[in-house]
Subunit: 191 residues, 2 copies
């Protein structure tokens, strides 16, 4: 064991397994544990040693997604500068996690049970606070509630990841199309 958390042999890289699983499940949400294992380059037995079951794996992915989102929120410094600029930074920072979020977004089981990860509420609260700040500063319109804008943001990120995955739009346009639609809308500005 030495002083590391891992054993003498190169233990399975848990983060790498989660990455592979996220990438695969984003493309094929119904992938089996066997397919997940193969995608990660390990055996099903080893996968099961890391995650007690499919449910545990999905929960771990949920925790990872929440973790990355919170890191993105931190990096975006939502409290600084104009709210619209904060939104731009947020989308920029959250883009790497978009695929994973898209998967979690469709994994309704996460929200059906009694106990759901309170991390989502924390994220909602922080993003809602950003939109509320923008409203109070006069940047954002007030007829669209912060709760709705927050949900719309997640929905657009998921949709964006989806269209990029399907090749309908280029990955480089991800940030622009989400931010511009969310902030400016489809209508052409008069001025």
């Amino acid at each position: 064991m030495s002083h590391m958390g891992y054993g003498r042999l190169m233990a399975v890289d848990r983060a790498h397994v989660l990455r592979s699983a996220a990438a695969l499940l984003t493309r094929k949400a119904t992938a089996t544990m066997d397919e997940v294992a193969k995608a990660a380059g390990i055996s099903r037995a080893t996968l099961h040693r890391q995650f007690a079951g499919r449910d545990a794996l999905v929960r771990a992915l949920e925790a990872l997604g929440i973790e990355e989102c919170e890191a993105a929120l931190d990096a975006a410094r939502l409290d600084e500068g104009p709210a619209s600029e904060a939104v731009r930074r947020l989308v920029r920072e959250i883009e790497p996690a978009a695929g994973l979020l898209s998967f979690l977004y469709t994994e309704n089981q996460l929200f059906e049970g009694e106990q759901q990860n309170e991390g989502w509420e924390r994220l909602d609260a922080r993003i809602s606070a950003l939109f509320r700040r923008g409203q109070e500063s006069g940047e954002f319109r007030i007829d669209l509630t912060p709760a709705w804008l927050t949900e719309a943001l997640f929905g657009l990120v998921a949709s964006g990841a989806w269209v990029v995955l399907n090749g309908k739009v280029a990955a480089k346009d991800f940030h622009h199309m989400i931010v511009e639609l969310l902030l400016g809308g489809a209508l052409r500005r008069e001025s």
Copy 2:
């Protein structure tokens, strides 16, 4: 029933079964055939007589969703008047089908297989044409592609159905919040 298409006994109302299934699956996408049957007030045997299996049921729901969408597009008269007004009518007409669309949107299996219902392409084409018309008329900005605007529309409708279902926003605000965000964005207008 006599000269109707049904037998002497009151046959199961297929449309009603689909309605119930859509309503249940919108809330709980992982519901079993047994739960679907109970929700429709029929036995599992009868449900299975109507739909060969879960897959057939989902396919029928997909067909229903497409059908309702196309009906909504027809009713919205996308070719008439300003494009923005057509979008408003479209969202208005599509609202009753939002829950079903939200379910179908998360049912990735529909898009994983080789053969996917070409109805989606038809819908995409018609809605994309609307956004393109708006761009050519100068109403809509041209830096957001029709393909993206179309996907965003579906995504926002699904998100809208979701937040209404969860009570985060009132059902009466559905149309306003989607149309205003899609067309106008979150930024407050200067003028």
